[in-house]
């Protein structure tokens, strides 16, 4: 049972445009959400996070939006750059007071020059 899902396995976007990556979850007890980027042959790299008590967090070109009622979050990248081409994972903090994270299925983003 996949508690964190990214329903788009891949996404292609023109350079300079906005990339929107989506993530859905099923467990309303998740209290923190994180986005990671992963290049081939490398480990995931942390991008941005959001607490369940917020609905938006922004860091430079990256903004994460959280809609708790819909159990949905999205990562916006604007403007998109070719170097953003990677696999993006959302992850949910599963258990308060522990270090347990559940990763989504991932979305491969390709930014076209």
């Amino acid at each position: 049972d996949q508690q964190v899902k990214q329903n788009s396995p891949s996404l292609s976007v023109q350079e300079g445009r906005i990339s929107i990556l989506n993530c859905d979850y099923t467990n309303s007890m998740f209290d923190y959400f994180l986005w990671y980027k992963k290049y081939p042959a490398e480990g995931p790299t942390f991008l941005i996070s959001i607490s369940s008590i917020k609905d938006k967090n922004e860091d430079g070109r990256f903004t994460v939006f959280l809609n708790k009622s819909a159990k949905h979050l999205s990562l916006h990248i604007v403007p998109s750059q070719p170097g953003d081409s990677a696999v993006y994972f959302c992850a949910a903090h599963a258990l308060s007071g522990t270090y347990k994270y559940i990763f989504g299925t991932g979305t491969r983003l390709k930014v076209l020059a």
């Binding site: 042959a41 790299t45 996070s49 992850a91 522990t98 270090y99 347990k100 994270y101 990763f103």
Partner: protein, 114 residues
């Protein structure tokens, strides 16, 4: 130093072999993790150590045996593995407040069991 270093990068082992994966970090993180990632799948949590004590074991088979000798090192001992255990094994570490800053991941060890 903001790196998590994993060795070896690649490992091929037979089903009767015993091998170990190693992970090292010098960021003062007191939480260290092992994840397993199969192709086109998300990383799956295996173990978490917090202050050198095993905090989470996600019902991992006993042929995988973690060890945390000190706050900078994390090992994963492998014995009698099956071909389906072939995967990318990722080590990560984090501060206690990993919620805001996430975890730092190593490059992984690509394990092939033959």
């Amino acid at each position: 130093d903001t790196e998590v270093t994993q060795t070896p990068k690649h490992l091929v082992m037979g089903m009767t072999n015993k091998k170990s994966l190693k992970c090292e970090q010098h960021m003062g993180h007191r939480a260290m993790y092992w994840y397993k990632q199969k192709a086109k799948k998300p990383p799956e949590l295996m173990f978490v150590y917090s202050y050198e004590k095993l905090s989470i074991n996600e019902s991992v088979p006993s042929r995988f045996s973690p060890e945390c000798p000190n706050s900078s090192l994390l090992n994963l001992h492998l014995h009698a593995l099956q071909p389906e255990d072939s995967a990318l094994y990722l080590c990560a570490s984090s501060h206690q407040k990993a919620l805001k800053k996430g975890a730092f991941f190593g490059q992984g060890t690509r394990l092939t069991v033959v």
